[in-house]
């Protein structure tokens, strides 16, 4: 199991992830052509302005209205994206396999970032259970998505601290990571791919066509 996970599984996961992302983006670009307004309305300047306002914490009115959520979601997304890429253990594997690696995070910081991701996932679940407006539109798939994201970090945390059977946990960790990667293009986690484009379109329609702000 461990051999499979560290060998073919990783390849399958990366192929499905990159292939899936490419396919979804290709579909988006071709379907957008049929939407009469998307390409004619797109404006680089207004698209970028909108993205800038929404990737800077408290850059939009709604973020300022919900400070706790804003802090949690920014911490979550930042840690989620950075910690796996710049984790020392991952980069050791990378160097061993392909002979190169990235700059790495200090282990303590990476550990804290992992905990941030896990706690943020708990926050999102609590919000889905407790906030009526979120609960109303929540279905089981929303919890599955949170679990898909939380599991690789939880197992990674356990593996790093070697609290349970290391080999079992690390195998689980690789499987969980692979499943999450593959899920990105094929589930609502695809907002990772689409965010810049939906945002840029709304920014363009608002800024270039309607002369209004969308933040």
């Amino acid at each position: 199991m461990y051999e499979f996970a560290t060998g073919p599984l990783v390849w399958v996961a990366f192929i499905l992830f990159f292939g899936g992302c490419g396919w979804r983006l290709f579909r988006m670009f071709s379907m957008a052509k049929k939407d009469k307004v998307v390409y004619p309305y797109m404006s680089l300047k207004h698209g970028l302005l909108s993205i800038a306002h929404w990737i800077v914490p408290f850059g939009s009115t709604n973020m300022r209205m919900r400070p706790v959520f804003t802090i949690v979601t920014f911490a979550f997304h930042l840690c989620l994206l950075l910690s796996p890429i710049f984790l020392m253990a991952h980069n050791v594997l990378l160097r061993r396999a392909w002979g190169f690696s990235f700059w790495t995070l200090p282990p303590v910081l990476a550990d804290v970032m992992t905990v941030v991701v896990i706690l943020a996932c708990a926050f999102f679940v609590a919000r889905r259970v407790r906030a009526p407006e979120v609960k109303y539109v929540t279905s089981w798939s929303d919890y599955v998505l949170v679990a898909l994201v939380a599991t690789p970090f939880l197992t990674g945390f356990l593996a790093y601290h070697q609290w349970l059977s290391y080999r079992t946990v690390v195998t689980l960790h690789i499987w969980a990571g692979a499943i999450m990667l593959v899920a990105i293009p094929f589930t609502r986690l695809s907002h990772m791919l689409f965010f810049v484009f939906t945002r840029a379109y709304m920014g363009s329609e608002c800024g270039a066509v309607r002369h209004a702000k969308d933040w």
């Binding site: 259970v129 695809s190 309607r210």
Partner: protein
């Protein structure tokens, strides 16, 4: 236990519950029409809209929404109804479009009736929520897709459908007949001459600089607004005209009833009339949805990127008249006054600053609203909601308490509403919530405030 129950009972809140009069009203446009629906017709219509009439935006929006609920605080219906989660923008999409897509069009007639209620009477398509969605999902567009499905199925609130029928049959929204139109203009010309001797409403003047167009409720119920504009045009010394033929009405309720074929016809006829008169630009009266139909939704449907002739909204027009000195203000409005930022010209055209310039130029005691500009609350009359008529008035009033609170907080006595839907909707709010205020159009204040040179006086 609560958590486990929530996880396991994802479907518990999906079943439509029995609705009271605060949400559902008898309406033959919904009650009678759904009896004619068959499962096959519903399914094929939904498939047609999903496959043939929508594309990238709809698919990507549905796949990108993470059900975070952050759009809730944007919606006046949600805020007005004690934050009832059923009224958040995402919940409205969940109860309509998500189900249609998930069930691949296999929904029943009762579902369509509910979807029509939500899409036509509980959303004003004001697009405030797209400014609160982290992904910029155009939720109002999704609701308009639902309206399109309902329209193709013939399930539209009867009063709203009547305005669309009027557009289709008479080329204007209010069943105004051709002779009545010309009669009304001549009557208003005479009234204007009671104030300004040389005031004229030039009909069919080919090659004029400006074609002035109005929405059909003006000749029908607010004819004095036309004579006010005749006074303003005369004082400003402008070369203008109005058409004596069909194509004079710039309103477009077909855009909101989901009858996009009629919407396209209305806009095409309006611009063809202006082209026939060889004018340089169209100036339109104080209406928001008419601007949206003429500049965005109409041209989109007709696959024009831009209108063939510039369309100038009244607020933009007045701003130019005042800043250029063509109109001089000598008698400012004295009572405390506030303003409504209409969604289609502030969120839709960025006229918020110019509107405030005009307010300060015309009024001594202007008191601004909060929130304002793009973040202003909708009037809940636009988007075709007020056109759904008396059966839905109670629901509309309950959905807009937040606007009553916002207006009351200004302490003003008068509210300027440079949009016909806002004007009628806010008049209703004032009466229902007993605010003791009045609404006015800008032109009503402008004709009293402007200087009339001695040689022009009657």
């Amino acid at each position: 236990m609560g958590f486990i129950q929530t996880v396991l009972s994802g479907k518990s809140e999906r079943m439509p519950r029995k609705l009271g009069p605060e949400q559902m009203s008898p309406d033959r446009g919904l009650d009678d029409t759904i009896k004619r629906l068959t499962p096959e017709r519903i399914e094929s219509t939904i498939k047609r809209v999903m496959e043939k009439e929508t594309a990238g935006r709809l698919r990507v929006y549905l796949d990108t929404c993470v059900h975070c609920g952050l759009c809730s605080n944007a919606c006046h219906t949600y805020l007005s109804r004690d934050k009832d989660p059923e009224f958040s923008p995402v919940a409205k999409v969940k109860n309509t479009l998500w189900e249609m897509v998930k069930r691949k069009g296999k929904v029943d007639a009762e579902f369509i009736k509910n979807a029509a209620r939500i899409a036509f009477t509980e959303c004003g398509a004001c697009r405030r929520c797209s400014m609160y969605c982290p992904f910029g999902i155009d939720i109002a567009y999704l609701i308009l897709v639902v309206r399109r499905v309902c329209n193709l199925l013939g399930v539209v609130p009867a009063y709203l459908q009547d305005t669309t029928n009027s557009h289709a049959a008479t080329s204007n929204q209010m069943w105004v007949q051709r002779d009545e139109w010309i009669d009304t203009l001549q009557w208003q010309e005479e009234d204007a001459q009671g104030v300004i001797a040389k005031a004229r409403i030039p009909l069919e003047k080919e090659g004029a600089d400006i074609m002035y167009s109005v929405i059909a409720p003006e000749p029908k119920i607010l004819a004095q607004l036309i004579n006010y504009m005749a006074q303003i045009m005369t004082i400003a010394g402008l070369d203008w005209t109005m058409p004596a033929t069909d194509g004079w009405d710039n309103s477009n309720m077909a855009m909101y009833s989901g009858d996009f074929e009629t919407m396209g016809r209305v806009e095409r006829q309006h611009y063809e009339t202006a082209l026939r008169l060889k004018v340089k630009r169209i100036v339109m009266g104080e209406c928001g949805h008419a601007f949206r139909g003429a500049v965005y939704d109409g041209p989109k449907w007709l696959t024009w990127k831009n209108p063939p002739i510039p369309m100038v909204h009244a607020v933009d027009f007045y701003y130019d008249l005042i800043t250029s000195g063509r109109i001089k203000i000598v008698n400012k409005f004295k009572e405390p006054i506030t303003v409504q930022d209409p969604c289609n010209i502030v969120r839709g055209l960025g006229l918020g600053q110019k509107l405030r310039y005009i307010m300060n130029a015309l009024c001594e005691d202007f008191r601004d609203v909060s929130p304002r500009f793009e973040h202003n609350y909708c009037c809940m009359a636009g988007g075709g909601v007020i056109n759904c008529g008396p059966p839905w008035k109670k629901s509309r009033m309950l959905s807009i308490k937040v606007k009553a609170d916002q207006l009351a907080a200004t302490g003003a006595k008068v509210i300027v509403t440079p949009c016909h839907n806002c004007h009628s909707g806010i008049e209703d709010i004032i009466k229902y919530y007993k605010l003791g205020m009045h609404t006015k159009f800008i032109c009503e204040i402008l004709v009293d405030a402007m200087e009339i040179p001695q040689h022009l006086k009657a």
